[in-house]
Symmetry: C2
């Protein structure tokens, strides 16, 4: 029996056998993405144990599905039939924080917020801050190239990955990348692994670039009559040459859901809230905040002000973070993640409204608006099969609109299962072929998370 | 005759026939890297013409060697026997500068400084600034992932590449990457192309991320009795959490060579000069400059001051830029490009001195010291074959020392021909295999700059 051989190859307790516990490892948070019963769920504690599992999968030609905390929103970590789910959430050691080199070395199961807190003790900062930061792991963040609120100024997870230890598709433990500030030695296989969703290797250690702690942020808030008005303000901020440290949009549906849950009283004020931040130091920060405020006003804000009260500012950002769980209280939420050029944000928001109307689907919006990265949240009543079909049609319509505006099907959530068809529309056939060529080169036996992250080859 | 078929497939004048002109296209600036007579040199004007050349090479199994301005320092653009040299320096169109999206679209032959100037007209800034910026092309910068002075704060060429148009190893014209601020759609084939030195595809168009123009820089200069003292000051700057916008080291040999050429009178002042810059705005910049000055003094500067005179500051940086051509007046210069962790800079500078002594070779030093990216310049008398052998031995010793200190064989110049053996020492055998697997996947017929950029497979 393969499953028994797997247990025998690992220390006691690594294979999860309790059926209820197994159920916690079979899918991520992507709504309606399919998953199937795995052969086994394994929680390794070391690179050697990961290697043993990969070698087992190679020997028996068993698919391997790596996962972090399972907070993904595209189905990339969902179990496929008869696979081994490799849950890396137990490998949570911060191996090293080196203040002189401004880098950290961590195991994949370290939780994002835990790393940020550990860095802060050294006066350092790890910027990438996906909404899942309190739960999601650095390994998962790297595998999906996670984004967050700070990206508009500070980039995404991949911008902080200097080096990786990976168990590759042949079962070798390899080191990719470097520890130095610069380096161009060989192909950038490290960046190739980032965002490849476990289809090219299993990440067992990550060397991350850090920044010094930054100055405190100033917050500018604006209320708008419509998301399109707010989108116009976003375009004005970009055109003014301002690089905010955050520029987030929250619409009325989100505000109402947060109010219903937390009684913050936001939704009586506006149909859309825009939250800008700047962390430029001293007078430059004052100036940038003032210029951002001007853009909000020019964009048509019904009210806008720089927050003089840190608590008030934090409450507004808390509302933004709470929007997703607040909406989930209403029913299943299908999360979009398109990204369009900044100037196309108002037009895209308009098209999202149209997609909701065309398919009779309630769509709420939160957005990393400064990046053009929009998260339309498609909300359905629980158990309503027809609403689900309509929502999925709206989802595809939004993808088509984003591509039509020169955008991409995924700004930060990744392809997983939900966006494979969309990716097939975004990439030309020869580029899809290049993806398969790389996949086959690095995973010649096809065991690494097969069926995820890349589109099917086009027929013929 | 293949060469005639090539001419026939292209508009008149694209194939360079004048023997003297051909000689200008057969090697880059890497000292002593081998090159051989090409079958032909082609200067295409469009993507379609590049595609025609790639298809010719595929049909006839002829090696293709792409090149930009030929300012490379590793031999990556050197002609191999019977190859087609594809000189992209004629494709110099700036297709688009989009201030709202803060991006530029350029053809590969656009000269780095020309792009910077064009961006400045829109209040925008293209940061990567290799020393070759007045001559080198963006295509070559991307193919080698070129660095420069600003990298210590602003990263390298690859950090600015959003998207590429590439003619791939099957002769298809493909688009990789995106135009949006964020995007995780599929494998990061764009980063894979960056720095691959033409071995995975021929770049025909580049979409670049830009920044708003930054505040004026302040310059802090320090004179030191030794490069090791200066290196200590560099480590202190890093440990203090300062991120300078430049931190450059120039040693006595360089200062003397510049003085001999330009009569600037620098070498009577110091054995090593450290040049720091900050572009933090307003009072924050004053503060950062003051803290940097303190680090210089703690590191043992015999004199250090913030330059109040922009002309004086520019003269010091001009001396740094002139160091390399000034040294070349003395004889052939073999350029090293190791990168070590910032804390190891003093130790590495000491080892470079030892390597020079051990092999009786004059070694001058310029360094992007803040990055730990050192450029030992090995100088030999013209025509002295024994000196050349000694210099090459010192070159290999420096590589071994950099690896021993946790560094890399190349910080920004790339592998080309000169560093292939060194790269083989830096990478483990399974990682070398992964390089070949990727190379074979994307260039299955082996026509794209074969024999460059990646090490040979280890025997057995």
């Amino acid at each position: 029996m393969p499953a028994q051989q797997l247990s025998a190859a690992l220390p006691e307790g690594r294979v999860v056998t309790d059926p209820a516990a197994v159920q916690g490892y079979v899918h991520d948070e992507a709504e309606w993405a399919p998953y199937e019963p795995p052969l086994a769920v394994v929680r390794p504690r070391s690179t050697a144990e990961v290697q043993a599992v990969v070698r087992f999968c190679l020997e028996h030609r068993v698919p391997l599905v790596p996962r972090g905390a399972g907070t993904g929103l595209s189905g990339g970590a969902n179990a496929t039939a008869g696979c081994v789910v490799l849950a890396l959430d137990g490998m949570r050691e911060i191996v090293e924080i080196d203040p002189a080199e401004r880098l950290a070395v961590v195991r994949p199961g370290v939780v994002n917020d835990d790393l940020r807190a550990a860095c802060a003790e050294h006066g350092l900062w790890y910027p990438p801050d996906p909404a899942s930061a309190p739960w999601s792991t650095i390994g998962g963040n790297v595998a999906t190239n996670a984004g967050g609120v700070c990206c508009v100024k500070y980039g995404v997870t991949g911008d902080y990955v200097l080096g990786l230890e990976v168990v590759n598709g042949l079962g070798d433990v390899v080191r990719l990348g470097r520890r130095t500030a610069k380096g161009v030695a060989g192909y950038d296989l490290c960046s190739l692994m980032v965002g490849s969703e476990g289809t090219l290797g299993v990440i067992t250690e990550i060397t991350l670039r850090l920044r010094p702690q930054r100055p405190p942020e100033r917050t500018v808030a604006g209320y708008f009559d419509s998301v399109v008005d707010a989108g116009r303000a976003v375009s004005l901020v970009a055109a003014a040459g301002i690089v905010p440290s955050a520029l987030e949009l929250v619409d009325r549906h989100c505000l109402e859901a947060v109010d219903a849950w937390k009684r913050m009283g936001l939704s009586v004020e506006a149909n859309a809230v825009l939250l800008g931040r700047t962390d430029a130091p001293g007078a430059a920060g004052d100036d940038e905040a003032a210029r951002m405020l001007e853009c909000f006003e020019q964009g048509g804000a019904t009210w806008a002000a720089q927050s003089s009260d840190q608590q008030e500012a934090d409450a507004l950002f808390a509302a933004r973070r709470l929007a997703y769980p607040a909406l989930e209280r209403l029913g299943p939420v299908l999360t979009e993640d398109v990204c369009v050029p900044a100037a196309k944000v108002p037009e895209m928001l308009l098209r999202i409204e149209r997609a909701g109307a065309a398919h009779d689907t309630l769509i709420a919006n939160i957005a990393h608006a400064g990046d053009g990265n929009l998260h339309p949240l498609l909300i359905t009543a629980p158990g309503d099969a027809e609403a689900r079909i309509r929502a999925q049609a709206a989802f595809e319509m939004i993808i088509a609109d984003a591509l039509d505006l020169g955008g991409t099907v995924t700004g930060e959530h990744g392809i997983g299962l939900l966006k494979r068809a969309g990716l097939g529309r975004e990439l030309s056939a020869p580029v899809v072929e290049m993806h398969h060529a790389v996949k086959n080169a690095l995973d010649p036996h096809g065991i690494l998370n097969p069926g995820k992250a890349i589109p099917d080859r086009s027929p013929g």
